[in-house]
């Protein structure tokens, strides 16, 4: 109990600090992005963190993921993934509502209900099976919907590519996750553990993609940065055409363009 009393105010303090710093950075760094729409003023630091992350993946996360993928039977890793997805739903719903996306909130709410009942407490993703696919979101997207700019590109230790806006989003999502706030400490820890294992499972499932970026490309930092920014912008645009037109490269008009 004492642990809880101490940790809650400190989490709130930390959250407030990160929000202040983050929003300051967002306001300060809304300058024009460089070529290819990349704004990376902290590149030198980011590259050092990237090397750290790569070392960590090579020595620990990659092998652990391979072990996890080969030792644990596939149905079990799938159940872990399903549980993690269901645990994310309350946070998704909260963000949907903050974004005023009522239809998405309703769909995720329905998913939560279906997975908890037909899916036996979230062990199975029954909703996707009946045509209710996931609509994942996060607080970084909420900030985007509220009009916050992307901010500078950053690579975070352990977590990898992000932007200032998405970093603030991640911190808020972790600190204010409804599941973590509602569950007793021990169950909240178990929930965190499930999510961690689910991420390790993802590292194994997408190992070919991850390894081709981290170990087979000439400049894995630049490649990861480009992939993250392009994919993130695509996700946030939600099929709006403006985002695609920005992607258009005309190799016929300007074949020597940088």
């Amino acid at each position: 109990m004492q642990g809880l009393k101490i940790s809650l105010p400190s989490v709130n303090l930390l959250l407030a600090a990160v929000l202040l710093v983050g929003l300051g950075l967002l306001a300060g760094c809304s300058g024009a992005p460089g070529p290819n729409g990349i704004d990376d003023p902290y590149e030198a630091t980011n590259r050092r963190i990237h090397e750290f992350n790569r070392g960590l993946d090579r020595a620990l996360v990659g092998p652990a993921a391979k072990g996890y993928g080969s030792i644990v039977p596939k149905p079990v890793t799938r159940v872990v993934g399903n549980l993690a997805g269901t645990l994310d739903l309350p946070g998704d719903i909260a963000n949907d509502l903050l974004q005023l996306r009522v239809a998405d909130a309703a769909q995720n709410f329905l998913r939560l209900g279906v997975n908890l009942t037909m899916g036996v407490g979230g062990l199975f993703d029954a909703s996707t099976a009946i045509g209710l696919p996931g609509k994942p979101t996060d607080f970084g997207e909420t900030l985007h919907v509220w009009g916050a700019g992307e901010g500078a590109y950053v690579e975070l230790p352990f977590a990898g590519p992000s932007t200032v806006r998405d970093t603030v989003g991640t911190v808020v999502d972790i600190a204010l996750n409804p599941v973590r706030l509602v569950l007793p400490p021990r169950e909240a820890m178990a929930a965190t553990g499930i999510k961690l294992f689910s991420r390790v499972g993802d590292r194994d499932r997408f190992s070919e993609t991850v390894e081709s970026i981290l170990y087979d490309s000439a400049d894995s930092y630049a490649q990861a940065r480009l992939l993250y920014l392009q994919n993130r912008r695509f996700t946030l645009a939600r099929g709006k055409e403006a985002a695609n037109d920005d992607d258009f490269i005309d190799p016929y008009e300007d074949p020597y363009a940088e």
Binding site: G160, R199, D202, A218, A243, F248, P251, Y252, E253
Partner: protein, 202 residues
Amino acid sequence: MLNDTSLSRRAILAGLAGISALVALPRAALALTAEQAQELVNKTVDEINSIINSGKSETAMLGSFEKLFTSYADVATIAQSVLGPAFKTATNGQRSAYTNAFQGYISRKYGRRFREFIGGKIEVAEARAVKSYFEVISTAYLQGEAPFEVRWHVSDKSGKSLFFNIIIEGVNMLASERTEMGALLDQRGGDIDQLITDLKTL
């Protein structure tokens, strides 16, 4: 790192004399339609589907992918655009050697990635005119994965309708390969001959 959940996923120069002949043709004879662009992608996708589900060996599959790229993609233009300014200063011999090496490199690289599609399928949905080209939108369905979007950019500026870019969930092949080729060239101190030699083994 652990951030990869959604990432989860990518000839010979056209004769200059030919281009001036094409310009002289009436526009209508040349103009690409949305249907033709879609047809090109349909054919490409049908072939990808049949290659990935053929049960062939990896080497045989990569060979088939190279053939597919040379028939349906504008490899010469892609190669030139990916190398960027360095292409301009290269000699004619270097240009054609580079384009050749690039063709093998890009086929192996993307062929290996398409192999992950085994057991899955790609469905073409629609084509639309955007600026000076056509965009064909398709969806990839992979076993045990959420479906994802693959966009194909198609043009007939080479004199034939061919695709020149693939965009998978927003990730742009031309942009990604420009970054990669720039880094490969930098690592070799800008030595294009060394780059050509090494591309053959990548």
